[in-house]
């Protein structure tokens, strides 16, 4: 909505605060930005008209940047949850790492899954280049996925079936990673 109220004096504390609010809402579409500023302005003016000093009314709202961040975060989270691309989910979670433990945990889980995916792809590629040394190995010391120097000291368990299994593993890792990111974002959106 276009603000229908008469303009505030340009040097008033309310004007300055609202100008900073508008600037901090720059990431939002213009219509949403106008709407939030107009609604906040109506609120501030009504408090002042009720006898509260402008400084006290503004102090109760806090810094406009922090107030604006609540709306920007909401929009970003809602946008990410409606976006089918996993990299968008990952980017939004990563941007919250410095202020959310949940985002840190989600990012650590996704990083571990990413490392597992990288290992699977690497071994599958090595199997194509050097089939006698690459694979899933069993020896006296346990199981091992990767390359061995001496194939006679262990038994390779997968053979060529490593390719469909690696593809299945990658699909599973992608699905679990996406679920972790979605669950984290939904929880963060509820906390807003």
């Amino acid at each position: 909505m276009t603000d229908p109220s008469p303009p505030l004096p340009s040097r008033s504390p309310l004007h300055d605060w609202l100008r900073r609010l508008r600037w901090s809402l720059a990431a939002l579409p213009e219509r949403d930005r106008d709407d939030i500023v107009a609604e906040t302005r109506a609120h501030l003016e009504e408090r002042v008209a009720g006898g509260d000093p402008p400084e006290r009314v503004l102090a109760a709202f806090g810094p406009p940047e922090a107030y604006a961040r609540q709306f920007v975060d909401q929009m970003e989270l809602a946008g990410a949850l409606g976006d089918p691309r996993s990299r968008t989910l990952l980017a939004v979670v990563a941007r919250r790492v410095h202020r959310s433990l949940l985002a840190v945990v989600a990012l650590v889980v996704v990083t571990i899954l990413g490392a597992a995916a990288f290992l699977l792809v690497s071994v599958a590629v090595m199997k194509l280049i050097d089939p006698t040394h690459a694979g899933l190995w069993r020896s006296g010391s346990g199981m091992f996925l990767g390359l061995v120097d001496d194939p006679s000291r262990g038994e390779e368990l997968l053979g060529w079936s490593i390719f469909p299994l690696a593809a299945l593993g990658l699909l599973l890792i992608w699905g679990v990673g996406r679920l972790v990111l979605l669950a984290a974002l939904r929880t963060l959106a509820r906390e807003r």
Partner: protein
């Protein structure tokens, strides 16, 4: 001499815990308020403070209202209440919001009944 330890005072909840609890209660209180009819932000905030006893900060009500509007639980409309009056954005409950309120109320009553039973057991 009794060996029973005297119960220590419960620790004060942290700001974060209090804020999180208030957010949940504010949503329930807000949906319940809008059952009375469309209301604007300042009016909602003041009624939640005075009638529901929720110590909400001034800047918390609009992000909550916008989130509820985004999720389809409330809808909004700018109105002029009279000649020369300041325009106000009124919020109203949608059908989905009414269903959500019924669900949250049922859960709140179930929880408070269980908690009361538990607390009265410890008192007796």
């Amino acid at each position: 001499m009794s060996s029973r330890a005297r119960p220590s005072a419960a620790p004060e909840p942290s700001e974060g815990q209090r804020a999180q609890l208030l957010k949940g209660l504010a949503e329930l209180g807000l949906l319940s308020l809008l059952r009375d009819g469309p209301q604007y932000g300042l009016q909602i905030l003041d009624r939640l403070r005075t009638e529901a006893g929720l110590a909400l900060a001034e800047g918390t009500i609009y992000p909550l209202l916008h989130r509820l509007e985004r999720t389809g639980l409330v809808r909004s409309e700018w109105r002029l209440d009279g000649e020369g009056a300041r325009p106000r954005k009124y919020y109203d409950l949608t059908d989905r919001g009414a269903a959500e309120l019924a669900s949250q109320l049922a859960e709140w009553r179930r929880l408070s009944r269980h908690l009361n039973t538990f607390l009265e057991r410890s008192e007796s």
